[in-house]
């Protein structure tokens, strides 16, 4: 068993770096997630790993711990609904608003190993004929370099390509390399991956017409959620969209976004926020 004192230390360091809230009863999570890191770093036990982190305060090790504690769970076309909304509502609306020679920017925040941005890229490729010359950029970010590397490589195991991905899409958009599956270059090239911590400034990111931020804020406390949502709002135009996980909401956390009626998980900018923005411009 990890000592309470060590749990408190690890939780505080992870919170400071990533906003991740690790409640005191998550000792088991700590054990299962830190054991591989301890092994990889050459420590005989999790206790030894934490002791070294406390003694040396090495940023590399503390970040390693933070990364290991974050949940990187994801799969292709996860939950389906957001992708249906994107195809049926968001894309046609924005295409109309921007014109067929315009451009749309999409941000997948906390993209983990890339399944969400690649799902969008596959959808866009399939819709290409209807989109004319509309230019679409997908930017996908995560704070964890390890998952970003995997995302950039676009190589997935047989298990990963069977969760959420229809077989026709596997055939159309992937190439087999040994027992792994690599997403084809035309899809890979549609996504730009970069490192971004949601706690840090978004100013260099530019603006986005659509932000996917799903199953991320659930790991944050209310104050952090509010701050992230307020900063996300600054990166979206008045007719922009925010998509959150099925179990999440902005209600009580943001005055900038409001739920789109009848569209679970979809949020638009509120009129109040739109007014403020144009007044400030």
């Amino acid at each position: 068993m990890i000592k309470q004192d060590d749990i408190t230390f690890v939780a505080a360091e992870a919170f400071k770096r990533s906003g991740l809230v690790l409640s005191a009863d998550k000792g088991y999570l700590l054990e299962s997630r830190l054991a591989p890191l301890a092994r990889a770093e050459g420590y005989p036990s999790i206790e030894a790993l934490i002791a070294a982190a406390r003694r040396d305060r090495s940023e590399r090790l503390l970040w390693g711990i933070t990364e290991a504690l974050a949940t990187h769970e994801t799969f292709f076309f996860r939950d389906n609904t957001p992708f249906d909304l994107f195809k049926q509502d968001i894309l046609p609306n924005l295409a109309r608003a921007r014109g067929l020679n315009g451009s749309i920017r999409i941000w997948c925040a906390a993209c983990s190993s890339g399944q969400e941005p690649y799902s969008l890229a596959m959808l866009l490729d399939e819709e290409r004929a209807r989109l004319g010359n509309l230019k679409i950029d997908i930017v996908a970010t995560d704070m964890a370099p390890r998952v970003l590397e995997k995302a950039k490589a676009g190589i997935y195991s047989q298990f990963e390509v069977q969760r959420g991905l229809a077989i026709q899409r596997l055939v159309r958009h992937f190439e087999q390399t040994g027992d792994q599956w690599r997403i084809k270059p035309n899809i890979r090239q549609m996504v730009t991956f970069q490192k971004q911590n949601l706690l840090e400034s978004f100013n260099a990111m530019g603006t986005f017409d659509v932000v996917f931020c799903r199953n991320v804020l659930i790991y944050f406390d209310a104050e952090t959620k509010k701050q992230v949502l307020a900063r996300l709002a600054k990166q979206t135009p008045n007719d922009g969209y925010l998509i959150m996980g099925a179990a999440e909401t902005v209600v009580g956390l943001s005055k900038d976004f409001e739920p789109v009626e009848g569209r679970r998980g979809l949020y638009g900018r509120t009129d109040a926020a739109a007014g403020k923005r144009s007044a400030a411009a």
Binding site: F75, D79, T81, F159, Q162, A166, I167, E175, Q176
Partner: protein, 124 residues
């Protein structure tokens, strides 16, 4: 209740698959090869078929071709479930009339995901 025909020459695989598929709300019938499966379909057309490729008497590929020629044989959703894990087998199966394809080894998540893909199950 929707029905699923589980076709595999391994009794163990049939048992494992059956348990998973019953848990997601299907009633299961079993067959040990393509010919038995075709017989079962003629008796009662299932909503879904989980189908192995390599089997004695009649293999999965020949079964799906034969099934699609039956009068109501276009109705069942056919999901291959096989160790033939390469692109050429997958495309051949789809051309022959299969709807989905599971590469063994499989687990409950994969079966559920594929049943959702094909509309057999509503997404949770």
């Amino acid at each position: 209740m929707k029905t699923c025909l589980v076709v595999d020459d391994s009794r163990v695989i049939r048992k494992v698959a059956r348990k998973i598929i019953e848990e997601i709300g299907f009633e299961c019938v079993e067959a040990a090869d393509g010919a038995e499966a075709l017989e079962a379909c003629r008796k009662q057309m299932p909503d879904a078929v989980l189908l192995d490729w390599n089997m004695p008497v009649m293999n999965g590929l020949d079964f799906v071709k034969a099934l699609r020629r039956e009068e109501t044989g276009d109705q069942p959703v056919v999901v291959f479930c096989t160790t033939e894990n390469d692109m050429s087998h997958i495309t051949e199966a789809l051309r022959a009339g299969a709807d989905e394809y599971v590469m063994k080894p499989f687990d409950g998540d994969i079966i559920e995901s594929k049943f959702q893909q094909t509309g057999l199950l509503r997404a949770s």
